[in-house]
């Protein structure tokens, strides 16, 4: 089997040695916050104050208070600081600053998204003029088709992000109610709980209702298609919001699908123009395309640092930031450029200083499959408890090609193909669909590039896209001498797999197959199944 050189941390960790003591079996939150030494604790404290100021500013707007009491999912946002604590477990120095810089920005972005939803919502803010310039899009949809519109005049509302996806990060039980609603209405329980919860939210009438039109995307799975149907039906028939179906080819590596996909993008843009009355602007598009390319360059640079013995930007914050920047932003907001630069500077600084975030790194892992790591602090736990360093995850391994960013007649035609390519290869589609080339070959190539000896394979119980490949993964990992550790879960339904049931699969693998003892035994079993 392939082995990698163990990297040992010669520096003493600032503050407390183990974060194991911060967990409590009596509470649904941490017993206390981690002591990280004076400098890092003070930094973490100032970021906590910043988060409170973001939340405080939000709740001071009367319509936001109204929205808070109208929508059940808003309850999750009481626990934003708790969610942030999950993504900083055991972190010090640059990694702590990277996690805060990236995730604080995501939180501020989501807070703004909620404020926008409430402003236009017919039941809360009811700002009709604003709502008439809003376009609702899917949670799992690339917003490339909005890159050429003035974002001050046409507002892209990723309605499902604050309602379901982000709210679940802060409170692991919050979507169970919506899953029950969906299943009580006859939706089968064996589909992915993410789109099923979204369907439940729609059935329960717990989505904000706004916008002059909506664009839906055939996302990645049976659950998503089913959910979109239910949501579109309510949008169109009850609320009179016309909904465009952006049909995106799934076999995105086949060259003959590109023209069809580009035509779909054209149609989506025409649909938005028709309903908002605003015109597509090529200058604006190519400015956004430059920013997309910059984000891609930064992501590649971050992955290069992670391919060395001293990775810096890792864990759930890495994929969440990429998710927001690549999919939710798509070059439209220049603010991301500043954050990209700051994150890269921090990562380079940490790499030069050879910073490590555990006593030792024993294994270098690629995290593959449909991942639930947003809801739990799994990847940080793996580093601290077992010295398994997650170098990259499937959702962050997205487009690495540069798109056309100069305004020429030829590039205007190319732009539709670029937008189509980005849309086809978006986060949840680029590896789960497109055949074994993107799911298997890409993985082994990545293991080679990042010098990984282990694949942590998330096995999502309700995801049919990957289940059929189980045997092929086993066979090909064996041929290459790469350890493959299967970890089952059911995404955002903690009733199927609790946090400890998930972590125990890693514990068992590390003890029985790897024959290793934990770096930090106090973390092997954490009493946080009932925690938010």
């Amino acid at each position: 089997m392939k082995t990698v050189e163990k990297v040992v941390n010669t520096r003493k960790r600032a503050g407390e040695e183990s974060p194991g003591k911060i967990y409590s079996d009596k509470l649904k939150v941490r017993a206390r916050r981690e002591w990280r030494g004076v400098k890092d604790t003070f930094y973490d404290y100032t970021r906590w104050l910043y988060l409170l100021s973001v939340l405080g500013k939000f709740i001071m707007v009367p319509r936001n208070i109204k929205g808070f009491f109208r929508y059940r999912w808003m309850m999750s946002y009481l626990f934003v600081p708790h969610g942030m604590d999950k993504f900083t477990v055991g972190l010090r120095d640059e990694a702590l600053r990277i996690a805060h810089t990236s995730f604080n920005f995501v939180i501020a972005d989501v807070t703004q998204a909620i404020a926008n939803c409430f402003r236009g919502d017919r039941r809360v803010g009811n700002d009709k003029a604003y709502s008439d310039k809003c376009v609702i899009t899917d949670e799992n949809s690339m917003v490339t088709f909005m890159m050429g519109f003035d974002k001050e005049k046409v507002h892209t509302i990723l309605r499902e992000v604050p309602t379901m996806f982000a709210s679940n990060i802060f409170h692991q039980f919050n979507v169970m109610h919506y899953l029950d609603v969906a299943q009580l209405n006859g939706i089968p329980g064996d589909v992915c709980p993410m789109p099923e919860a979204e369907a439940g939210i729609s059935i329960e009438d717990d989505f904000c209702v706004l916008g002059c039109c909506a664009v839906q995307n055939n996302t990645t799975c049976d659950g998503s298609l089913m959910g979109n149907g239910i949501i579109a039906k309510r949008l169109e028939r009850q609320y009179g919001i016309p909904t465009f179906q952006l049909a995106t080819p799934l076999r995105h590596k086949e060259p003959d699908v590109l023209e069809y996909a580009a035509d779909q993008i054209k149609q989506a843009i025409e649909f938005v123009e028709k309903h908002t009355g605003e015109k597509w602007d090529w200058d604006r598009y190519f400015a956004a395309a430059k920013r997309v390319n910059f984000a891609t360059k930064c992501r590649i640079a971050q992955l290069e640092i992670n391919s060395t013995p001293y990775p810096q930007f890792f864990g759930a914050a890495f994929s969440l930031y990429n998710d927001t920047n690549y999919m939710g932003n798509s070059g439209r907001d220049p603010e991301f450029i500043k954050i990209d630069k700051k994150l890269l500077a921090l990562a380079e600084q940490g790499y030069k200083a050879k910073r490590m975030y555990a006593k030792e790194y024993r294994h270098r892992a690629i995290v593959w499959g449909v991942q639930p790591q947003y809801v739990i602090d799994m990847l940080y736990w793996m580093v601290q408890c077992w010295g398994v360093m997650p170098l990259a995850d499937m959702l962050s391994i997205i487009n690495t090609d540069m798109i056309a960013d100069e305004d020429t007649p030829a590039n205007r035609e190319q732009a539709y193909r670029d937008m189509a390519m980005l849309n086809m290869e978006m986060i949840m589609r680029n590896h789960t669909h497109g055949g074994y080339k993107v799911l298997l070959d890409d993985l082994w190539e990545l293991c080679e590039k990042m010098n990984a000896d282990l694949v942590m394979m998330w096995e999502h119980m309700s995801c049919k896209a990957l289940t059929g490949m189980h045997g092929m993964f086993e066979e090909q990992a064996r041929e290459r001498g790469i350890h493959i550790m299967w970890v089952s879960h059911d995404l955002c339904d903690p009733r199927v797999f609790t946090r400890n049931a998930i972590r125990d699969q890693v514990n068992n693998y590390m003890r029985t197959v790897m024959r290793e003892e934990p770096l930090d035994p106090s973390l092997e079993h954490i009493p946080d199944d009932e925690a938010y």
Binding site: L27, K28, V29, R30, A31, R32, R33, W35, T41, Y45, W48, L49, L52, F69, R72, M75, L78, F79, P81, H82, V181, N185, G186, S202, I203, E204, D205, D206, I230, R234, Q238
Partner: protein, 55 residues
Amino acid sequence: MKKLVKIPLILLGILLGFFVVTFTVYIFNLDMKMMTFIEPLLEKWYNSREHDQYL
């Protein structure tokens, strides 16, 4: 003159007081512990609401 000395001292005292209170809340996670008491009440409120279910 006395006033000029007093103002920075008062400001320092306010800042120090703010730091002591907020840092205590931060380090003992009192903010999140308080939310665990509020959450069940909110849940009751949301459960009591009528919903227009539509499929």
